[in-house]
Amino acid sequence: MPQFRAWFSRLLGLFQKNKRDAEMVEEMQTHLDLLTERHIAAGMLPHEARNAALREFGGVEQIKEVAREQRVWRWADEFVQDIRFGARMLLRTPGFSILAILCLTLGIGTNAAVFSWIEGILIRPYPLVSHQDRMFAFIGTTRGVEGHNGLSYPDFLDFEKNSTLFESFIVDRIMGTSLSVGDRAEWASGGIVSANYFDALGVRPILGRGFRPEEGTGRNAHPVTVISYRTWKDRYKFDPNIIGRTQYLNGVQHTIIGVAPEKFHGTFVGYSFSFWVPTSMQETFDTTGYKLEDRGARWIEGYAFLKPGVTRQQGQAELSAIAKRLENDFPEANRGHEVQLVPLWKTPFNGAGNMSPTLAITMAVVFLVLLIACANVSNLLLARSLLRRHEMTMRLALGAGRRRLIKQLVTEGLLLSIIAAAGGIAVAYWCRNALVLAFPSPAPGIVIDYPGQIDWRVLAVSAGICVLATLIFAVVPAIHASHVDLSGALKSDGGGVVSGSSRSRLRSTLVLVQVSLSFVLLAGTGLLLESLAKIQNANPGFSTDVIGCSTALFSAGYKQDRAKNFYTQLLDRVRALPGVESATLTRVIPFSYNVFSSSAIEVDGYQPPPNEQPTVEYNQVAEDYFATIGIPIVSGREFTRTDDENSPPVAIINETMAAKYWPAKNALGQRVKVKDRWLEIVGIAKNANYRTKLEIPTPFFYVPLRQNWGVQNTLLMRTRETPGAMLNALAREVHALDANLAPGIPYRLQEQVDQMSYSQRLAVTLVAVFGAMALFLAAIGLYAVMSYSVSQTTRELGMRMALGANAADVLRLVVSRGLRLTVAGIAIGAIAALALTRLIGNLLYKVSPRDPIAFGSALIILIAVALVACFLPARRATRIDPVRALRN
């Protein structure tokens, strides 16, 4: 306790310093007066009495100093002094201060903004959902096969029933319906969700209620729906009596029982849902039939919430054990099937999985920006400490302690960092808002929600890195400065012409470090930018000019035979339209969220490893599909109109499938068994991208639509017309076939690709912005160090000119010196970059870590900046009157 009191009293003393000092003086004065009076009373003369009193008392000033020390920590006192002095120094060189603070502010601010943005998307992607730290995607996998499946509903219930480490499981299956708005059909995305969905997520509807447990079961028994806030606003105009009203969804009248809160968009990264229905209504929304009792139908995507304190490994172990039991109990349906708990940011069935590589690149780039900023400030501090050598020497000579000097330099560095960190918060806040402005919704129905606040952890980390870097580099020159041979330094700094060799060595080192560091960073940023551009421009393997259009037959209640009729006639009519070169149908278009069919296959002559069930995805397409969408047939033939119910079943496989199952022989004419039918392979198609540009090539095959009719298909057309121009013609043809139908809005496949790679394009823009910033900072840093270095030799240049050198000679000297340093720095940087860029190898897309373009541009940029940085101060130096240069 006494220790604490003493501490507190001293702390208080720090703030009441002036008052306490005054009291102390007064008290001692009283003492002296009393003593003097006593001596006078004893018969001394007043002045004698005073002197005697002073003698007895001792040295007043020393005693005051000692007494002060008793009250205040000396270092704290000095700290305040240092801060004052530091602030004065920063104000005296505003150029330096502004530059340093600007660099740090940009570095800290952008990092904080991007990190928190990324953190928002990856770690807490769903606004309003509680316990996202314990939330994991729950997916099915097949032994020996890359990628994921869904889960079947019976399996899902068994997992829910038999596990003990989980708080809850939820189903969340994306689907859609067409809502007719006037004479136009509008597509709305919805979710088929388990009845516990809203309760498990901790999301309370703002009107009405969520689903009741009994509403999850019973085939089509509970036509109820919870609508989103946006639907409530746009479609129902904030109708306060919305609860209990009905709405046709896919031809079934649903009762609206609740309205979700404004910020809740569902649990699917990249899509904002308009409504939710319980699992019991699955058949109404799934074009491929009733699945709630089918253990082989793997359609469920969902999430699992671990109980607090349970690790993912423990949860995974329990689920794997249950999966093993299910495999034993239901070998027919479950052989080879496993399950996996996946962190949210790797969720494979929504946008999150696609985004993580690009987000990682963005993160790497902004971190490089921060590194450059730190390097800049450190170099600036170092350079300035050399400028202040004379001051330091003087202070040492006047008796300042070395530790005191170091402390002061560190305080100045700290002051810079703190100001910059405060600025960084402002920049981060502004950046976030700017991000929202710069990137509005990519497509109707998609809302990217940015959590409103800056993540403080991210900010703390960025600021911490900056402060640390500044401190380290503030200490180095400080120590250097404090080890000075006093007499020598005073002499040479005062009047020497050619500076000491150790100083010029340090200066050269500064330039070398800055150049090589900048080179590494620029080359790295260049590589990342290049790979993002490559991703962006990558050919998906099909022609993206093709126009697609779908008509909502399933929603309109069509069954298979009627749909078959409709599509056959529609194809004939569309092919006859002027300007249409070719037209076809496909069940699933590439780069859509609709899933391809997938099936267990058997291959003649291919023996799968035990416990493995080869499963391959496929698509149902009409004749002329490959010609229309522009996927080349490598060998064999395209589907024709006669590949229908009356002819033998056939298939076209992709190159990867051919290589995997028929490695030694030609796959043409071979057979593959799909859903109990043997199909003959009549063609091999070139690989294409099916979902994203980043996917790894997987086996894939096509079957003729005419042998596998479904109700919902998309029309694809190759035409010179624009999608807008096609709308009227299509509407006319569809109307002629069924007066109650309207086609959806036609679009180019490019739009679909863009929508799916929205996050990628966002990242490209961001990386370009931050790359430019990195370049800017590196250029500033190099310029500052270089021009400082040149300006230090002004005296020497003056001397040379006095001895007869002309301006051109001096310029040549300075520039060649600077270039020599730059080239040396680039050489060091290139060696370092060659070693370091391999670290980001897995972030690169079709770009070698030693890509000459990235390295070449870094080289050119740095040389150009170095030239400018040498030339300007050198020219200034040549204009100085030699006499003045010498005298200064």
Partner: protein, 110 residues
């Protein structure tokens, strides 16, 4: 830097100040007088060194200072023992007695 230079055994000044304040509050000069008087003129406190010690004791919370009037109507800072100071004083007295007894024994044994 000038260090306080006690006329006394090093480290005993604090204890003597506390003792001088045992019964009545006193100002600086009075404390010096009191110590001198109690020691029958054997101990002389160097007046100046009194103040650093007083501030130290105050910071420890053993004494408290208040402005008051001296006998001849002068404004002076009066120091008073706190409860914690009292405890400290008895602890130091006990400690001192033990030490001196030990020293006595050593010297007597010679």
């Amino acid at each position: 830097m000038a260090k306080e230079k006690p006329d006394l055994v090093y480290g005993t000044l604090d204890m003597l100040i506390l003792k001088a304040l045992q019964h009545d509050p006193r100002h600086g000069l009075a404390i010096a007088d009191r110590i001198q008087q109690m020691s029958k003129d054997i101990l002389h406190v160097e007046q100046g060194s009194l103040y650093p010690a007083l501030y130290r004791l105050e910071a420890q919370g053993w004494i408290k200072a208040e402005w008051g009037l001296s006998d001849n109507n002068r404004k002076a800072r009066y120091y008073k023992l706190t409860a914690a100071g009292r405890k400290q004083l008895s602890a130091e007295e006990e400690h001192w007695l033990r030490i001196t007894k030990g020293i006595d024994l050593v010297l007597a044994g010679g």
